[in-house]
């Protein structure tokens, strides 16, 4: 190691520390934005150090530098444009697309390292293993993330796409991918074998994510984020670059933790989500036509709800997927502001999996200028329900299903919001159709619950108008 390489190593260490400090600062809203900027400074240092190292040590050919510059310009324009224009409801898709491009960039780097090694020394295991793993993981991430983004965007059907023998096909493709991977590692470098790994991994990513229901897509995005991190770390092993190894491992850990937390919040194992099937929409159709339940359902008008809210002292709003889908975050914030202007205490009870990715509901509410302090996490919210006059459940299903406390059903054991502990409950929902767990919710037939059957956006507008009339009269 020359003195120069040592200096670059120190700079990598500095940028890695900035990544860690930046992530660490994301634990509180007040420091989070600066945390992201500190992480970005770490990125600039890592990239500049690498450029200087590459120019001094290897030099390289001018065509390659032109190719790099052209690529970076194209990518940067696309990335910044999408980041600036994306709607907050579409952030999960964008994160998924960034996973796809990150994973494939890692795979491309590994492929380049492999081709380069072919033309020089025989390939060492310390290079061939990370190269093959990188191509494998990176390709799965690329195609899988694009399919996940397509599902979230609605371009690809949200329900699990399976066909007779699809599992057999999955197993077969996985087996070929694994076999080719092992062969590519063991046999003398063979570009064709690596291409087989690449193609089968791409197919595997498509098949895997196609079979997963739209409701599980957030977990999949998180999982693919973890895989992208791993792919980047593998690329770091392949080209012996510590910045990639550290940053990739950080992201891999982050994605894994989030995936586990989400799966836990949905009371599902990660494996059952990947394998697909259970509770992913297939069961929704067969599980309990809600006809007989309708006799016990108390249907409300927006005026009824307005009166209930106007008389309340403490209101807890439980926003769910339906609110996100209707993009009604501004309407709910407007209603809450109106109530608060009349001295009614309004808070939001937010389940960890509400929305389309972890913490997505908080982002949507933040977009509508809801102060961070009004968003209660699961434990805080459940303490608040006991003192709550009206729980306003908007497009949420399974996250407030009291049956989760009983054993023997699809949501048993899942941590829920105790909306049923409130003195009265109002549920805004388009129909009695069960959520993705495919089971009925006894909260909806509880005598203290009233149902307002409508689209979240329209219902909230109507209620707001009614409350205005009511409080001004």
């Amino acid at each position: 190691m020359t003195g120069f390489q040592f200096l670059v190593g120190i700079l990598y260490l500095l940028s890695a520390s900035l990544f860690v400090v930046g992530l660490h600062m994301m634990r509180a809203p007040a420091t989070a934005r600066n945390g992201n900027r500190i992480s970005a400074i770490g990125m600039v240092i890592a990239v500049l150090a690498t450029i200087v190292l590459a120019l001094v040590v290897d030099g390289g050919e001018w065509i390659a530098w032109v190719a790099l510059t052209a690529g970076v310009l194209v990518g940067a324009v696309f990335g910044v444009y999408r980041a600036r224009t994306v709607k907050m409801t579409d952030v999960p898709q964008l994160v998924s697309v960034f996973n796809a491009v990150g994973g494939s960039a890692a795979a491309a780097i590994a492929f380049a390292a492999f081709i380069l090694a072919t033309s020089s020394d025989p390939l060492e295991l310390t290079v061939s293993i990370p190269v093959v793993l990188d191509v494998l993981i990176g390709s799965i991430t690329f195609s899988g993330s694009l399919i996940a983004a397509g599902k979230l965007q609605g371009i690809i059907p949200g329900n699990p796409v399976t066909f007779p023998g699809s599992r057999l096909l999955n197993a077969l493709v996985a087996l070929i991918a694994l076999g080719a991977s092992v062969a590519a590692v063991m046999l003398p470098h063979n570009t064709l074998l690596l291409l087989v790994v690449l193609v089968t991994a791409l197919i595997l990513g498509i098949l895997m994510v196609l079979a997963i229901g739209g409701a599980d897509a957030p977990v999949v995005v998180s999982l693919l984020n973890a895989l992208t991190g791993l792919a980047v770390a593998m690329a770091g092993f392949a080209i012996d670059n510590q910045a990639l190894i550290i940053a990739g491992a950080l992201v891999g850990a982050a994605g894994t933790i989030l995936t586990l937390q989400m799966a836990q919040a949905m009371n599902r194992s990660v494996l059952s989500i990947i394998v697909g099937g259970f509770g992913t929409g297939e069961t929704t159709a067969t599980a309990g036509p809600a006809d007989e339940d309708l006799t016990n359902v108390r249907s409300l008008t927006s005026d009824d709800v307005a009166i209930q809210l106007a008389y309340a002292q403490h209101v807890l709003i439980v926003p769910g997927y339906g609110l996100a889908a209707a993009q009604a975050q501004h309407e709910v914030a407007e209603l809450a502001a109106l109530l608060m202007a009349h001295n009614i205490d309004v808070k939001y009870a937010i389940h960890p999996v509400a929305g389309r990715m972890p913490g997505h509901m908080n982002v949507l509410l933040a977009e509508a200028n809801v102060p961070y302090e009004q968003m209660l996490q699961l434990d805080e919210a459940n303490a608040a329900f006991d003192n709550c006059d009206v729980a306003l459940v908007i497009g949420a299903n399974d996250v407030c299903n009291p049956d989760a406390r009983k054993p023997g059903n699809a949501v048993s054991g899942m941590p829920i919001l105790d909306a049923d502990h409130a003195k009265a409950v109002v549920v805004i929902k388009r129909s009695m159709r069960p959520g993705y767990a495919g089971i009925t919710n006894p909260l909806f037939t509880d005598p203290k619950t009233g149902m307002l059957f409508a689209d979240a956006k329209k219902a909230l507008k109507d209620i707001t108008v009614a409350v205005k009339e009511y409080v001004s009269a």
């Binding site: 390659a64 092993f237 080209i239 960890p352 972890p358």
Partner: protein, 108 residues
């Protein structure tokens, strides 16, 4: 060679542990910006694209460099910009507004 592999593996495992430790403490409210932020961090793969550019010496190498550069740049630039946009919304609540809500709470 084994020495390099060992030190790289050590770095990898320790970074994993640091990641687990740091991420585990982030409240669920901030999970989306955190995920988006970590998403931007894996854009460090752009440094890998730079290394690839310095080593490439064939048409295939140039094409792979272009692909790696374009994809990595989309990841890193887009990731940081969108995370900043998300976090800008989280920092918006002003202190006076906060004081308002607390007094309302006390009064009721």
């Amino acid at each position: 060679m084994m020495e390099t592999l060992y030190s790289n593996l050590a770095i990898f495992v320790l970074a994993l542990l640091v990641g687990v430790e740091v991420i585990g403490k982030i409240p669920s409210t901030l999970h989306t910006p955190m995920m988006s932020g970590s998403n931007a961090i894996h854009g460090v793969v752009i440094a890998g694209a730079v290394v690839t550019a310095s080593l490439a010496d064939s048409p295939t190498g140039y094409i792979l460099t272009f692909i790696a550069g374009a994809f990595a740049a989309a990841n890193v630039f887009g990731g940081y910009v969108v995370t900043d946009r998300i976090l800008k919304m989280f920092t918006r609540p002003t202190p006076p507004k906060k004081a308002d809500t607390t007094t309302t709470e006390d009064a009721s």
